[in-house]
């Protein structure tokens, strides 16, 4: 049964080059990564380190120049519902209500209407938007929109949720709320999460494992395991120790770049 294959995600020697006005840009060089089923992995690094490119390759939006990405042992060559993506700018369909957006995936996949309705109701409740089920995206706050975006991929049976700085555009209060909610959903559902962020604190708060990336060319620099019990307190000495370690790793790149 392919579902049981571990690691659920694997990158084998993935490189990505772009052509930008005649110049070759190496966005990602020789990257190897394994993500286990149910793991919460954060990718962190300065802009241009290839963290978004890596995520987009796993999503199937980009294909690697060399190497290959695998999900449950099968090569990834196109986007698919088992890999749900949550964008920073939400990517909701403005002409559909909250209900319509959450039901978009199941409807596209020709699920019976009654099933879709049940699924949609379940996930609207999960993200606490019952009162806004018939609202259109432009009537919602940023936090609500991102809840819809999360519910939309979960309602579509995503096994892996890919998140590209999903809370980057939100205010601090909303961001903390959504981080808590995301952890709760993740713990309840056993999903695998690959989460791109540039916030050290966010990464330590959320992740089982933090992958540190560096730019020019984009590559994986190192890894930090976070074994603090959840819910995590951002002001404990243990938390700060990891924060210092990550900070050093990230800043050493800057130092070297400047030298």
């Amino acid at each position: 049964m392919p579902e049981a294959i571990d690691p659920i995600l694997e990158l084998r020697g993935v490189s990505k080059e772009f052509e930008l006005s005649g110049r070759r840009i190496e966005a990602l060089r020789e990257t190897y990564l394994r993500v286990s089923r149910g793991e919460f992995v954060c990718l962190i690094g300065a802009s241009g380190c290839g963290k978004s490119t890596l995520l987009r390759i796993v999503a199937g939006f980009e294909s690697p120049t060399r190497g290959q990405a695998f999900m449950s042992g099968a090569p990834i060559d196109a986007p698919g519902p088992e890999r749900g993506m949550v964008f920073q700018d939400y990517g909701l369909f403005p002409w559909l209500t909250v209900r319509g957006n959450i039901g978009f995936g199941p409807t596209s996949r020709k699920r019976p209407v009654e099933d879709v309705k049940g699924t949609v109701d379940r996930f609207i409740t999960l993200v606490g938007l019952q009162r806004f089920a018939e609202a259109y995206p432009h009537q919602l706050s940023g936090g609500m929109k991102q809840r819809v975006a999360i519910a939309r991929v979960l309602a579509n049976d995503a096994k892996v949720v890919l998140m590209d700085e999903p809370f980057g555009a939100l205010d601090a209060m909303t961001r903390e709320h959504l981080q808590d909610e995301l952890l709760e959903i993740w713990q309840r559902t056993g999903l695998t999460v690959l989460f791109v962020t540039h916030s050290i604190e966010e990464a330590i708060f959320l992740a089982d494992r933090i992958v540190v990336m560096s730019p020019g060319p984009g590559r994986i620099e190192g890894e930090v395991n976070v074994s603090l019990p959840r819910p995590r307190d951002v002001v404990t000495p243990e938390f700060n120790a990891i924060r210092r370690e990550l900070s050093l790793q990230l800043h050493s790149q800057h130092g070297r770049k400047a030298a």
Binding site: A59, G60, F61, A78, P79, G80, P81, R83, G84, M85, F87, D89, G91, L92, F93, P94, W95, L96, T97, F104, G105, S108, R109, Y136, P137, H138, R152, V153, N156
Partner: protein, 288 residues
């Protein structure tokens, strides 16, 4: 949950003194009246100027507003002059309405699908877009002689010219709508399992509806603009036809009546379309 919400909101409402509520209402009433009041200032001033400039002058080539009003009444209901124009307004209005909406419908049924194809399929764009760009600046008036040769004198030419006038705004807005769909929405659709031609119906079409709708609205406006040219093709009825005929008879008051009716009819038809748009596109921040 509703009951508890009511329980919270009811005391809050009743605690507001009655006088304050009335004041709030009066303010919103005034606000609602403000726009119509502002809107009639300019027409009133124009009417007054027109009246002062023409009333009581024997040899004025432009009749005073009161004469035009009388003619308009006679055109609609008869009983004043009882000449060839009396009680014929409905005939001309219906004739023009049928040409405006007929030509518009033909234009929409050609321009929307063509625009979707041009916007979506690059080979179609490269095939027909250059030709259309060259044809577009040619005014509808310039097509009049050729149209009468090809379609003959009469209503078929009128339909063709009205259709031509409405065609380009619809086409160009449809192309624009299709080409400006946020690429993010295609990514979102494909990661949710909606790919290939399904994306056309589930993403491209709904996403470009506001722009298509704007095109339809502009197209209908242009259809009214070109109706007079369209009815220069030797049709016996229509608002454009009576304007041209009355001009030759120096019945300037009838000419102005035709102008007024076209203006009002075009305005009402635009309002109806806009209302329809607000209804169908209430999801769009541009229409809601």
């Amino acid at each position: 949950m509703n009951a508890s919400l009511d329980a919270i909101s009811t005391p809050a409402l009743t605690s507001v003194p009655a006088g304050q509520i009335a004041e709030v209402r009066r303010a919103s009433w005034l606000e609602r009246l403000r726009d119509p009041l502002l809107a009639i200032i300019v027409p009133t001033a124009v009417l007054a100027l027109w009246h002062l400039a023409t009333y009581g002058r024997q040899y004025s080539l432009i009749p005073p507003p009161i004469d035009v009003a009388r003619s308009l009444y006679d055109l609609a209901f008869g009983g004043i002059y009882d000449d060839a124009y009396s009680r014929t307004l409905h005939v001309h209005l219906l004739a023009s309405l049928s040409r405006v909406y007929g030509g518009f419908a033909i234009a929409a049924s050609l321009a929307v699908p063509l625009g979707l194809l041009i916007g979506r399929i690059s080979i179609v764009r490269r095939l027909v877009d250059p030709t259309l760009q060259v044809l577009r600046p040619i005014p509808v008036t310039a097509w009049l002689p050729l149209s009468m040769i090809i379609f003959g004198l009469g209503p078929r030419s009128a339909f063709f010219l009205v259709c031509l006038g409405a065609f380009y705004p619809i086409l160009i807005n449809t192309i624009f709508g299709v080409r400006s769909v946020d690429p993010r929405l295609f990514e979102a659709a494909s990661m949710l399992g909606c790919q290939g031609t399904a994306q056309f119906y589930r993403v491209v079409l709904p996403a470009s509806l506001p722009a298509i709708f704007t095109g339809l609205r502009l197209g209908l406006g242009f259809a009214w603009v070109v109706i007079v040219v369209g009815e220069m093709t030797g049709v016996p009825t229509g608002l454009g036809a009576i304007i041209m005929e009355a001009r030759q008879l120096s019945r300037t008051e009838i000419v102005i009546c035709g102008m007024v009716v076209i203006g009002v009819a075009g305005f009402i038809s635009d309002r109806l379309v806009l209302m329809l748009g607000k209804r169908l596109l209430r999801w769009s921040p541009n229409f809601a």
